[in-house]
């Protein structure tokens, strides 16, 4: 609050009401509902529900399909995050360094931000097409018989590739603006202190980018968990079958397609806890200050 704020009584409440109303109806109510449903077993034909305690949770953790999906989510998240962060960092460092064409490169490397994930998925379907997909043809040269939608590993590979492609621009933009925020004087000081360019990068630039990197780490984990939904849904063409799927996709499949509301809600609650833990971890780290202010 500003020290000389206005002291009207009703005006601020009036200003807050739209936001609060929407939040209560479409955030707190559904969130509470999800938590409640996770302790109930719904009749698939809509005739009432029974309290089952933690049964939905125990069933979930005993389900091979769930554990498989959880493992896949972890590996998928780690790989997507690592690849999209490191490739974007490389591109950002180069884009920050070149003088000629810097603006053009910047535009070319960031516009994909605006491509919707399912459209990226459609592009992936073409690239990996069974009969003439360019990437499929390319890997066939090395004897890799790529089978999208049939082979578990191949499908996962396509999902990762598309998800990384879609996420590069965000990381690129943040890394580039992080690099540009490093004071010129610091770079010049480093130039005098260290004659090796890679030495300067690892000793000075990289640590100064740490706050950006950490922030992006969280963003990328969230992206891999949630925003890849569109990619996955298009790649598996809405029919998961035995294909890999992330936990969020499983919530949707079990709840919306399979009508297992209780089980799906329990999965939602686990995801909520995961996100909360992630956020708390983020706040902790910010408090501990990876910032250099």
């Amino acid at each position: 609050m500003k020290r000389a704020g206005f002291s009207n009584r009703w005006l601020p409440i009036l200003f807050l009401i739209p936001q609060l109303a929407i939040i209560f109806i479409f955030f707190y109510w559904p969130a509470a509902h999800a938590i409640r449903s996770s302790f109930y077993l719904q009749d698939p034909f809509g005739f009432g529900e029974t309290f089952v305690g933690l049964k939905n949770y125990t069933a979930m953790f005993n389900s091979a399909a769930y554990l498989r999906s959880a493992w896949f989510t972890v590996i998928f998240t780690v790989i997507v995050t690592f690849l999209s962060l490191s490739i974007a960092l490389l591109l950002a460092v180069k884009a920050d360094k070149v003088i000629r064409g810097a603006k053009t490169y910047r535009t070319l490397l960031m516009w994909v931000y605006a491509v919707a994930p399912p459209v990226a998925g459609v592009i992936g379907l073409i690239l990996f097409d069974q009969s003439w997909g360019p990437i499929k043809d390319f890997v066939a040269l090395f004897g890799w018989d790529f089978r999208l939608g049939v082979d578990y590993f191949d499908t996962a590979f396509a999902m990762v590739t598309i998800s990384v492609w879609k996420q590069l621009p965000v990381n690129f933009i943040f890394f580039l603006s992080g690099l540009q925020a490093i004071p010129k004087s610091v770079r010049e000081a480093a130039l005098i202190d260290n004659r090796s360019a890679s030495g300067r990068f690892w000793d000075v630039t990289f640590p100064l980018l740490a706050p950006t990197g950490f922030f992006l780490l969280i963003i990328n984990i969230t992206y891999s968990l949630f925003d890849t939904f569109g990619v996955i849904d298009t790649v598996v063409k809405g029919e998961p079958g035995n294909n890999p799927m992330t936990l969020v996709y499983k919530v949707y499949v079990d709840g919306f397609r399979g009508n297992d509301l209780g089980g799906s809600s329990a999965q939602s609650v686990i995801l909520m806890i995961l996100v909360l833990a992630l956020t708390i971890f983020q706040f902790r780290m910010v408090e501990r200050r990876i910032h250099y202010t």
Partner: protein, 286 residues
């Protein structure tokens, strides 16, 4: 002269890396366009190629005006219209509501300001995806399935814009509101005369981010709209690619052009308003 020579080699390397990166970003979309410029038969036989054909107008016509499904309502034009409504409605709604709430939190002495702050900012923690089913049920109960309200309002139920404007308002010097008070401006006048004009750049930046976000929504529209007349482009594409399966002659031209039309408005906005977009992105998520 060895120094300058080494320097030149490293520049070549830098540019090569950047060019490869740029190509990886662009080529897939060029490929979509190429496929949309040839006949579907040609594409089905050969896949994407290097030579552009002359079928773009024909395929464009199909993409914009042809419909499939039961009602025949999901023409490209109709989906474009729905996407526009979702993009604009979401961006405007979010900005208006967020600015009002941020104004109340930053500029008023509110007894429960801290409580309001936490109630609002907790929403930053949980994305819509983790509460998607109960949200669906509630929208259903409220009779808002297949409506624009049902499509837009639940997406607004998070505080990103509020948080962003709160940060921005806090960065505005205190003295400005003090000067305005001495100049006889009340809270409404201050908001309209000073705060809103001062926030113009921020509003523009936020608008771009939010428009792209709204336009690209997929999961929520997929659940909430079942009538084909309500489909957005991004949601409708899945429908069309699915109908590709099992037909004798898949309509590659039409579906690829629809994909291009679906990415064109947000991409153009991001490219043309690049500096605002970057500002909005890098400052909003902190």
């Amino acid at each position: 002269m060895s120094v300058s020579k080494r320097f030149r080699w490293s520049a070549v390397l830098d540019h090569s890396i950047l060019i490869i990166g740029s190509l990886i970003m662009i080529l897939p979309v060029v490929m979509l366009l190429q496929m949309a410029s040839t006949t579907d038969i040609h594409t089905m036989k050969n896949g994407p190629g290097l030579i552009f054909g002359d079928q773009l107008p024909v395929n464009f016509e199909k993409a914009m005006f042809k419909a499939d499904g039961f009602t025949g309502a999901n023409t490209g034009v109709r989906m474009l219209y729905n996407s526009m409504i979702l993009g604009f409605g979401f961006a405007i709604g979010k900005i208006v509501i967020g600015m009002m709430a941020a104004y109340a939190i930053v500029y008023f002495r509110l007894r429960f300001a801290t409580l309001a702050f936490w109630v609002i900012f907790t929403t930053l923690l949980l994305p819509l995806e983790v509460r998607i089913l109960p949200s669906y049920e509630i929208v259903q109960r409220l009779g808002m399935l297949n409506t624009y309200q049902g499509l837009i309002i639940p997406l607004i139920a998070s505080a990103t814009a509020t948080f962003f404007f709160r940060q921005f308002f806090r960065s505005i010097p205190e003295e400005l509101v003090e000067a305005a008070r001495i100049d006889g401006a009340g809270p409404i006048k201050f908001f309209v005369d000073i705060l809103v004009p001062l926030s113009r750049t921020m509003i523009a930046a936020m608008f771009i981010i939010m428009f792209v976000y709204g336009w690209n929504q997929y999961l929520w529209p997929t659940m909430i709209t079942t009538e084909e007349g309500m489909f957005t482009l991004v949601r409708g594409i899945k429908q069309i690619t699915q109908t590709l399966e099992g037909t004798n002659l898949p309509e590659y031209g039409r579906s690829n052009l629809l994909a291009i039309i679906a990415i064109l408005p947000p991409v153009l906005i991001v490219i043309f308003f690049q500096s605002w977009f970057v500002k909005g992105l890098t400052e909003s998520d902190k």
